[in-house]
């Protein structure tokens, strides 16, 4: 029960700070919309609906990945400001609760961006999914969790590096490649209705990836937090 209290405490604090500053959400929204808009200029999705369905999954996840990276870069910056991170290290609360609180807060922020992005995306790309649309309700949270769990962990790992804004995507993207492959293929399968993509298989793979990496990150986070 104590752990959940700590977790709720961290989550509440992150939500309150974001509500007041809106640092992450504004940046992410602008970035994601820009990516979707630029891609829609690069080719005409209305002229070739089949092609649009095939590449839409990739474009959507690239937009989410880039947008999430901007938020992830800031996620620990406010902990470093005024040396609050040292107060966190001194607190007799489990470090993993701080980590999980941050991942959950980021999940809510990115989820909000996805909710705004989805209708814009459907309109810009003139999308009519041919597969099982309800599966998107699994793919989106699983995929987002994979990016955010790893992203929050590696953002913390890069806290003491000089070029942390550059370091994060350099580490995050290669590590997240299996998850990205799963998200893109599952989304493409749902949008195109093509059995060859087999979204169920990719969703299972994504769930496995999430479980493994969440456990690893939770176990290693205290070491990352206390590292000099």
């Amino acid at each position: 029960m104590n752990y959940l209290n700590h977790l709720w405490h961290h989550l509440q604090k992150d939500l309150r700070i974001e509500w007041r500053s809106r640092d992450s959400i504004n940046g992410m929204l602008f970035y994601a919309l820009l990516v979707v808009f630029v891609f829609s200029l690069a080719f005409d999705p209305t002229a070739n609906p089949t092609l649009a369905r095939q590449i839409a999954g990739g474009v959507l996840w690239v937009a989410i990945l880039f947008a999430a990276t901007t938020a992830l870069n800031q996620t620990w910056t406010r902990e470093q400001r005024n040396a609050v991170l040292e107060a966190q290290r001194m607190a007799p609360a489990p470090a993993s609760a701080l980590f999980l609180g941050k991942v959950l807060a980021n999940l809510l922020f990115v989820g909000l961006i996805e909710a705004v992005l989805a209708p814009v995306f459907v309109i810009f790309y003139n999308l009519h999914p041919l597969g099982e649309t309800s599966l998107l309700l699994l793919v989106m949270p699983l995929g987002t969790w994979a990016l955010l769990c790893n992203g929050t962990f590696f953002a913390a790992l890069g806290l003491r590096t000089r070029n942390r804004e550059l370091m994060l995507p350099l580490i995050l993207i290669p590590i997240s490649l299996p998850a990205l492959l799963g998200m893109i293929n599952a989304t493409a399968g749902i949008l195109t209705g093509d059995e060859g993509f087999n979204p169920h298989l990719w969703i299972r793979m994504l769930a496995g990836y999430d479980i493994i990496f969440t456990i690893i990150c939770l176990f290693l986070f205290e070491t990352v937090l206390t590292a000099e």
Partner: protein, 238 residues
């Protein structure tokens, strides 16, 4: 077969155990030795003032005791244990306010108070009382980012006091305060040493300062660091 049960919670330290002790402790950053071969004990109930020029190693020594950095050589013990295992018994206030700029003072204190409710310490203070004790209005809704340096310093002091620590580590706690506020804080800290502890025992303070004359009434022991080394106590004048 019988097994010795492991205590679920850290037990209260015996009065005979020192609040903190460093044994042949050194801390090296790259090629610079910030603390060199320091051996010192801080008995329970003592209030020690650490003096020294800028870069003498005072802050590094405090951070070693706090467990925020590990010694390059030697050992650090807090209540006979590792500093990490005794985090619930100590509090550390650094140069930086260690507060969230976007939150008000009471929101900051409520947040940190919540992190101390780990079950091992039943004596978490009241954030409102802590703010009042440092002379701040707990109902001030302005975010800490809009406070003056002195107000941040007071809020930071309230943050450490509300956790009801047995060992209080203060790094330049009066650096941004005017003379009157400094005297008020010293009175508060002197009073803090007499506050009863839930598990028994005495409160210990270790503070670094450049305002030795002002802080003198609080401390019953003065140590001087120079180039990372502890200086022998000065001979009393004949």
């Amino acid at each position: 077969m019988t097994t010795t049960p492991t205590p679920a919670r850290p037990v209260a330290p015996k009065a005979s155990v020192a609040a903190a002790s460093l044994s042949a402790c050194s801390k090296v950053f790259g090629s610079f030795a910030a603390v060199r071969n320091v051996s010192v004990t801080f008995p329970q109930g003592s209030a020690t003032m650490l003096l020294g020029e800028n870069g003498a190693g005072k802050s590094t020594l405090l951070r070693l005791v706090a467990g925020l950095i590990a010694p390059s050589r030697g050992t650090v013990e807090v209540f006979g244990d590792t500093p990490q295992n005794q985090r619930h018994r100590m509090a550390y206030m650094s140069h930086a306010p260690m507060l969230y700029d976007e939150l008000s003072a009471i929101e900051n204190l409520n947040y940190f108070s919540g992190l101390h409710k780990d079950g091992s310490c039943a004596c978490v203070g009241n954030p409102e009382m802590a703010l009042r004790s440092v002379g701040l209005d707990p109902f001030l809704t302005r975010p800490v980012g809009q406070y003056s340096q002195g107000m941040r310093q007071r809020t930071s002091l309230a943050r450490v006091l509300q956790s009801d620590p047995q060992l209080l580590l203060l790094d330049e706690p009066f650096s941004n305060l005017d003379a009157a506020s400094t005297r008020q804080m010293i009175d508060l800290l002197t009073d803090f040493r007499t506050w009863p502890l839930a598990g028994g025992g005495l409160r210990t303070i270790i503070l670094t300062t450049h305002q030795a004359a002002l802080a003198a009434p609080l401390a019953n022991r003065t140590l001087t660091l120079s180039n990372g080394e502890l200086q022998p106590p000065a001979e009393p004048a004949a």
